[in-house]
């Protein structure tokens, strides 16, 4: 899932400094699951903004709403008209939602309430970690299911660098060395031959370095 985190309150207040009527718009997709942009977080953020503006002597009118998803056009239909009533719409969806609103509702002043961070998993309550870089050229079958592109600080392809000590990454002891784990896993599975083969230089185009990516499936096209 996409993991995001709320921007600092001051930054948001700064963003809406000239706004007098605001819609805080949540999303029940990924951001709701990672407890950043669902119904509950919409309520909390709206209250915080009201208080902040009140304290600054510039009270604000804020409405709250949460859509099923902000990344599918059908759910955004109502906003095309409703949005115009507000000076700004503060989206609590991931960056995709913000972009999509901007695309679909040209007359709406959409603002981001969150920083979209990574594709990750929920390690435990309140803890998420990156597991995928969306690089578009998956090599997990060669690495025991563990992603060196997303999980190695240098996205190495050919084994751990010289900074790997005791299974930890040199950039931070809290970070496990994913290549150490890959080595152990492949050796344990008697697939260590994979560790001896030289992985050629990557084609980074699928990961976005070839320009904005778009995917088309003919069979599903209208």
């Amino acid at each position: 899932m996409i993991i995001a985190e709320q921007k600092p309150l001051d930054e948001i207040l700064e963003m809406i400094s000239g706004v007098e009527k605001l819609l805080v718009l949540g999303c029940r997709g990924c951001v709701a699951v990672c407890s950043t942009g669902g119904d509950k977080e919409v309520g909390v953020l709206a209250s915080a903004l009201r208080l902040g503006r009140k304290k600054a002597g510039k009270p604000i009118e804020i409405d709250e709403a949460t859509y099923v998803r902000q990344c599918d056009p059908e759910y955004l239909e109502p906003l095309k008209e409703d949005g115009e009533k507000y000076d700004a719409v503060l989206s609590m969806a991931c960056g995709v939602g913000v972009n999509f609103i901007a695309d679909r509702c040209p007359d709406v002043n959409v603002l981001p309430a969150l920083n979209t961070t990574f594709y990750g998993a929920n390690l435990s309550s309140g803890e998420w970690a990156e597991m995928c870089a969306g690089c578009g050229a998956c090599v997990l079958h060669l690495t025991g299911g563990l992603c060196p592109v997303a999980r190695c600080a240098k996205s190495l392809s050919n084994g751990p660098c010289g900074g790997s000590v005791g299974g930890r990454c040199e950039i931070n002891p809290d970070v496990p060395c994913i290549w150490h784990q890959i080595c152990e896993k492949l050796t344990g599975r008697k697939q260590d031959q994979l560790l001896r083969e030289i992985v050629p230089i990557r084609d980074w185009r699928p990961s976005g370095h070839g320009g904005p990516r778009r995917r088309i499936r003919e069979d599903l096209l209208p």
Partner: protein
């Protein structure tokens, strides 16, 4: 050649390579790079130019590399993947190649997090292995990474990579090296090594993978500048293993910088020993000044001259620099030549001045002499007149007075020639001597007169060459002839002789005087003055002789330099006693008697000499036993049972035209291995040398090897004492013959070849019986009990048990014993201490003492006054150091035997020989007191574990026993010639051969 770089040439030449490192500055200062390059120039084969190391922005490696190149220092350009994608990297590589860079080190690069721009986007378009592959393809396949062709001028770079043996997972590290090699690396530089042991394990896997044959591995080292730096690296640099030992050394050091350099040098020396290490990479970033010292201390300088280091770009400054340097060189050369010419001129000027002075002084000397002569001549003339007058009065009637008068007249009538003047001067001085020494009395005056007359007459009559009258010259009168008055001549001769006698007597040469007087009496027996003189002379002689004897006792060679006469006499007595002992040993009772008597004359109180004399007088002479071949049953498969023989058997057999005293022949092809006597050279060395003076071929030694006694009592042995190189008996003495001890194992040997074990087959399981057999059957003079059973890696018998076995052997034999531990320092300490507790006062020799246990065992040896064996690896300095340590401990070197480690023939013998020879030369000719210690050579064990002693008999290699015996005997011979004093051997036949050699060499 891949790139033809200097680094590549040094690496491929097989020399131990040294690379350095240069960190470019964090600014645009050209001079910084140039200055660092100048420090490193000539001390390393190539220099790594780092590429923004630890992700801190610095001058680019390409630029700094070009500056270094312009200074004549070959750069290894570092290239990371952090800051450039494949487009940037390939572009820089083309540029580098164009400008003459020939080495490239391919790195992934430190993560930007560590640097001063942690916000930077890390590129990491590829990793180091992919980078290697890409550059290799550019070079070898002439293709860019995308596959496009490089149409010409492809970059020719020697590629290197890094490896970190201390990163995890450890087992994967060598595999990653293999990947780098496969990808294109020709050399590898490792992370900084402090933990050499771990690096050695890494190298072991590297060798197992065969990588050391595919790639040159350079071990990374860095001198720690301070404790703080070492601690920082240990704590904060991931993948760097700084050992506690390094931190402790720095902590304890007075000068941490110097210690840091020492640590670095030590590590270089250690890694150099690891197989597969082709060189070192010295990283002293920010401390480049240390590199020349490190390289030199590590014994790696000078470096081979740099080749193919040619910058393509030259700044005008560097051109000027080159020109100015060339000028400087030329100027220096000219100045040198000028200096030399000046010195030569000065020298010749000095010579002229000196010559002038010499000539002047000569002339003035001659002038003085002439004046003196003139004066003397004047005196003489008056003297002659006076004598003439006297003569005329007393002997007017005698013919020769007339003659004399005539002569005097004649003399007056002509001028004196210079020769005559000098003759007169001599006469005058003779006269003075006589009148002073004896007082003027009439007889003497008369003698003088006659002497004077006779001489003068003779000279004038023969009118030939003048013999300068002196006491020596008086004798040749005999040869002269005076035809008309024979009796008179004889008379004159007698007078001359008497005069001579008196002069000699006056000079305290009583013997010469006696001789002269006796000659005089022989001519004229009645001559009174002569017989009186003779009496006087004899008396003087009697008085003088005792004093002379006290000053230089008869029979003692002159005292060598560096010794007082007392010391020399004491030494000489010891040698005489030793010579006597040797004679006894050889069966030469007369020689022994003579030696002991001489010794007692010099020192009547010497106990050893007395004891020896008693033995010599009682005719007690040691027989030389010959080992008997055990009887081998006809079928070879059955292990042979040796049958002890009561007495040695000898018979004469001719072999190779030598006189041979063989042991009974065995049916195994051993016939010609019998103990032969060495053919003796009948003529002495000086005879053989012919007319060559002795001092041309002899070289006396000034040092003396210490004497070490093993055991006490009748069978005690002493070794050492040599004052010459081994067997150079024409130059000095070897008072004690080299000895052989039999090796006895304290547990049954499992892997002995049959050809050896058959000699002991009935006693192998019983060390006491074994030792007795060596003594009784084979005539062993000493036993070395090897405590092999105590080895913790073998049987690991407890010390207490082993000590009991040793005790029973020690108590069961009466010859000197050497106890030789298993070589494990701790266990040996335990076992040998246990033994000394059990056997108390028996003076067994303990060994081996190493640097690990010399304190504990040395203390034991001091407490019980036991001799010890000081064992060191084959090295002069280590041997000396251990001796010094033992002496510092309080142990006298008179108790020490040196074991410098032995290799059998074909197994490092040349090292053993060379080290022993060097030690002996230092001891004898350089008076290195710490090395004046006898050698013990435990060689049997080394010989009999070799392949050559273990392969069975076959047509190609011949008989196994013969082979083994010869191996052992030749090893022993070599060690004897190197100076070995005590051999520890195994095969009785080899022992017999060695002893025959000793006997032959000792004459």
């Amino acid at each position: 050649m891949i790139s033809g770089s200097n680094l590549e040439q040094v690496l491929t030449s097989g020399q131990f390579t040294v690379t350095g490192e240069l960190g470019p500055p964090q600014n645009g200062n050209f001079d910084v790079v140039r200055d660092k390059a100048r420090i490193l120039k000539g001390h390393v084969d190539a220099v790594n130019i780092t590429d923004c190391q630890t992700a801190i922005v610095r001058m680019s490696s390409l630029t700094a590399g070009l500056v270094a190149l312009a200074e004549g220092v070959e750069p290894v350009m570092q290239m990371t993947c952090r800051d450039r994608n494949r487009i940037g990297i390939q572009s820089d590589i083309l540029g580098a190649s164009a400008l003459g860079i020939k080495n490239l080190l391919c790195l992934t690069g430190d993560h930007q997090k560590f640097g001063n721009h942690p916000q930077a986007k890390g590129v990491f378009d590829m990793d180091s292995i992919q980078l290697l592959g890409m550059v290799k393809a550019m070079r070898d396949d002439k293709k860019f990474q995308c596959g496009d062709e490089i149409k010409s001028h492809e970059p020719r770079l020697l590629l290197g990579a890094a490896a970190n043996p201390f990163a995890d997972p450890f087992e994967y590290r060598p595999i990653r090296v293999a990947k780098k090699v496969d990808a294109g690396a020709s050399f590898i530089q490792t992370q900084i090594i402090y933990n050499v042991e771990k690096f050695a394990r890494f190298m072991e896997i590297v060798r197992d993978l065969g990588l050391h044959e595919k790639v040159y591995i350079l071990a990374g080292v860095t001198p720690p500048k301070s404790v703080g730096m070492a601690r920082y690296m240990k704590k904060f640099v991931p993948g760097l293993d700084v050992t506690d030992e390094v931190i402790e050394r720095l902590k304890g050091a007075k000068d941490p910088k110097e210690e840091g350099i020492n640590i670095c040098v030590d590590i270089i020396k250690q890694v150099r020993e690891i197989p597969g290490v082709a060189g070192v990479h010295v990283m002293a970033i920010g401390w480049e000044q240390a590199v020349p010292e490190i390289v030199s201390l590590a014994g790696l300088s000078p470096r081979p001259g740099a080749q193919a280091v040619e910058p393509r770009l030259r700044s005008s400054e560097s051109t000027e620099l080159i020109v100015s340097e060339a000028k400087k060189d030329a100027k220096a050369e000219i100045e040198k030549a000028l200096e030399q010419a000046k010195a030569e001129a000065q020298a010749s000027r000095d010579l002229v001045v000196k010559e002038k002075e010499r000539v002047t002084s000569e002339i003035s000397g001659l002038k003085r002499q002439a004046e003196k002569d003139k004066a003397i001549a004047g005196q003489k003339e008056t003297e002659i007149e006076r004598l003439n007058a006297e003569l005329a009065k007393t002997r007017a009637g005698q013919g020769h007075a007339q003659a004399l008068k005539e002569l005097a007249e004649k003399r007056e009538s002509r001028a004196l020639s210079s020769r005559e003047r000098s003759a007169l001067a001599s006469l005058r001085s003779g006269l003075e001597a006589l009148s002073k020494g004896l007082g003027i009395n009439e007889d003497q005056l008369e003698a003088l007169r006659r002497f004077f007359e006779a001489e003068f007459l003779l000279r004038l009559d023969t009118a030939e060459q003048v013999t300068v009258p002196s006491e020596e010259a008086a004798v040749p009168i005999e040869e002269m002839e005076k035809p008309d008055a024979e009796a008179e001549t004889r008379h004159k001769e007698v007078i001359n002789l008497v005069a001579k006698g008196n002069v000699l007597l006056h000079k305290n040469d009583a013997a010469g005087a006696i001789d002269a007087f006796e000659k005089a009496l022989a001519i004229e027996p009645e001559e009174q003055k002569a017989s009186e003189g003779l009496k006087k002379a004899r008396k003087a002689y009697e008085i003088a002789r005792p004093a002379e004897e006290a000053a230089a006792p008869e029979g003692i060679p002159p005292c060598p330099e560096g010794l007082s006469p007392e010391e020399w006499q004491r030494k000489w007595v010891i040698r005489l006693v030793a010579r006597g002992n040797v004679c006894l040993h050889k069966g030469d009772a007369d020689g022994a008697l003579e030696a002991f008597k001489l010794a007692l004359e010099l020192d009547p109180g010497d106990e050893k000499a007395k004891a020896g004399l008693l033995r010599a007088e009682s005719g007690e002479v040691a027989p030389v036993p010959v080992p008997a071949e055990p009887e081998v049953p006809e079928k070879a498969e059955v292990p042979p049972t040796p049958k002890p023989r009561a007495a040695p058997v000898t018979e004469e057999v001719k072999a190779e035209a030598k006189k041979v005293v063989p042991v009974p022949a065995a049916p195994t092809g051993m016939e010609d291995l019998s103990v032969a006597e060495l053919p003796k050279e009948a003529r002495s060395l000086s005879e053989r040398a012919g007319s060559i003076a002795e001092d041309q071929f002899t070289e006396a030694c000034t040092g003396v090897i210490r004497e070490v006694s093993l055991d006490e009592g009748e069978k005690a042995l002493t070794v050492g004492g040599a004052s010459t190189l081994p067997f150079h008996l024409f130059e000095g003495d070897m008072p004690y013959v080299p000895r052989v001890a039999y090796d006895v194992l304290d547990s049954e040997p499992e892997d002995w070849p049959d050809v050896l074990s058959k000699y002991y087959s009935d006693v192998l399981s019983d060390p006491v019986a074994w030792a007795r057999k060596c003594i009784d059957d084979y005539g062993a003079e000493a036993i070395c009990l090897s405590l092999v059973s105590t080895d913790p890696n073998g049987m690991n018998r407890p010390s207490s048990e082993a000590a009991k076995v040793a005790q029973s052997v020690i108590e069961g034999v009466d010859v000197p014993m050497i106890l030789w531990g298993c070589g494990n320092a701790e266990k040996d300490t335990e076992t040998l201490r246990e033994v000394t507790n059990l056997v108390g006062n028996r003076k067994v020799c303990l060994g081996p003492l190493s640097d690990a246990n010399y304190r504990s065992l040395g203390a034991t040896a001091m407490a019980f006054q036991l001799p010890v064996v000081a064992s060191t690896p084959i090295d002069v300095n280590l041997a000396k150091q251990l001796n010094i340590l033992l002496e510092n401990l309080g142990l006298s070197l008179d108790q020490v035997l040196m074991d410098t480690s032995i290799g059998a023939v074909g197994y490092g013998m040349e090292y053993s020989y060379s080290v022993m020879e060097r030690i002996r030369l230092a001891a004898l000719t350089q008076q290195d007191e710490k090395l004046q210690v006898p050698f013990i050579c435990n060689l049997g064990r080394e010989v009999w574990k070799t392949k050559e002693c273990r392969l069975p008999s076959d047509d190609h290699l011949g008989d196994q026993e013969r082979r083994g015996v010869l191996m052992e005997a030749v090893t022993a011979s070599t060690l004897l010639l190197a100076g070995g004093e005590l051999m520890v051997m195994m095969h009785p036949k080899a022992v017999a051969l060695a002893e025959a050699l000793i006997k032959g060499m000792m004459g």
